[in-house]
Amino acid sequence: MRPEHTAPPEVFYNTDEAKKYSRNTRIMEIQATMSERAIEMLCLPEDQPSFILDIGCGSGLSGECLSEQGHHWVGMDISEAMLDVAVSERETDGDVQLADMGQGIHYRAGVFDGAISISAVQWLCNADKKGHSPPKRLYQFFKTLYSSLRHGARAVLQLYPETPDQMELIMYQATRAGFSGGVVVDYPNSAKAKKYYLCLFAGIQQGQAQVPAGLTDEMDTATNTDRMRTKDFRSAGGVKNATRKQKVIARKERHLRKGKTTKHSENTKYTGRQRRPKF
């Protein structure tokens, strides 16, 4: 059964479920891969640190990918248990708030250079409380998201639509709220790897304004080799026991192999550093 049918998100993402997001390496790897793909589609300026919103940020996995690329971010999520992992275990650089995206984005107009959301927005299609209307909540979400973005910014939302109708409803409300853009499908021929991303534009784009092409199976092989390499690293100490610094450096190397630049290519004394309070 789909988790969306079992309980409201703040109940489903309890302490046990939240633990998986800091312990289960398979889940962590999948979420990180999708986060990196979403960030890539934001088309942020190359050499500048941006300010990004992460919607349904959960335990901060997706946010950590933003930090690794040198960006600042804030996140919102409806599950206290997930946010506790973000703050107490993962010690994310980004600030997080307990909030329901269906109630709107509690940020001023034009403050974000982009927004991402990984595996969260499909939750808005369910009416979890008396008086919840999915179309209304989706519209409130997209309307306030649109205004919180800077002109020309993008929102890339990876989601698991249950039916084509659901996807249509989501896209319809996004368009009503002013967004243009469309759906990107990665690995459409693979039952497991197939992923949907809404790539939304808030206002006229600078330069190329096309919805990016989806990845195909050829690239899938590339990702597979990449995963193998991560495994090598895992056997040499284990991700679970790796220090934060090792994890950051490993992910940086993964980026460099893919030919991407990371914001802080040099590893310094700040790399993966846990910031201690200074009173």
Binding site: P49, D95, L98, Q103, R150
Partner: protein, 123 residues
């Protein structure tokens, strides 16, 4: 909660017109060292509300540490940029409350996490 976050947030209670800034009632405040990036600070200068940032520093007991006027986006003086970096990213509220400037609705902050959930009749 960092003051950069506070400066970008607003109250989302329905039917009000004055949403910013959320008032801060701190109980626990701390200072955490963060990596200084002058490019990021400059990039934020165009979108922060400077008076609200000064006000927030005062609420958190760090009055008078910011330059009087908001520098321009091509500011090069490192001391000035560092003072703003400090206010935006290093001073944070761990426990306390945020208060909607118009409705007086309180949002508790615990372990650095503001609870912004509204009741259904406030949406």
């Amino acid at each position: 909660m960092k003051l950069l976050t506070h400066n970008m947030m607003q109250s989302h209670v329905k039917g009000i017109s004055r949403r910013f800034p959320l008032l801060i009632k701190p109980e626990t405040v701390r200072v955490v060292e963060q990596e200084f990036n002058p490019d990021f600070v400059r990039r934020m200068l165009g979108r922060i509300e400077y008076e609200a940032l000064q006000q927030a520093m005062t609420w958190l007991g760090h009055e008078g540490k910011l330059p009087k006027d908001c520098p321009s986006e091509d500011e090069n003086n490192e001391d000035i940029l560092k003072a703003i970096h400090h206010a935006l990213l290093e001073v944070e509220m761990v426990e306390g409350k945020l208060v909607c400037p118009e409705s007086g609705r309180e949002f508790p902050v615990k372990n650095g996490i503001p609870n912004m959930l509204l009741n259904e009749d406030e949406v």
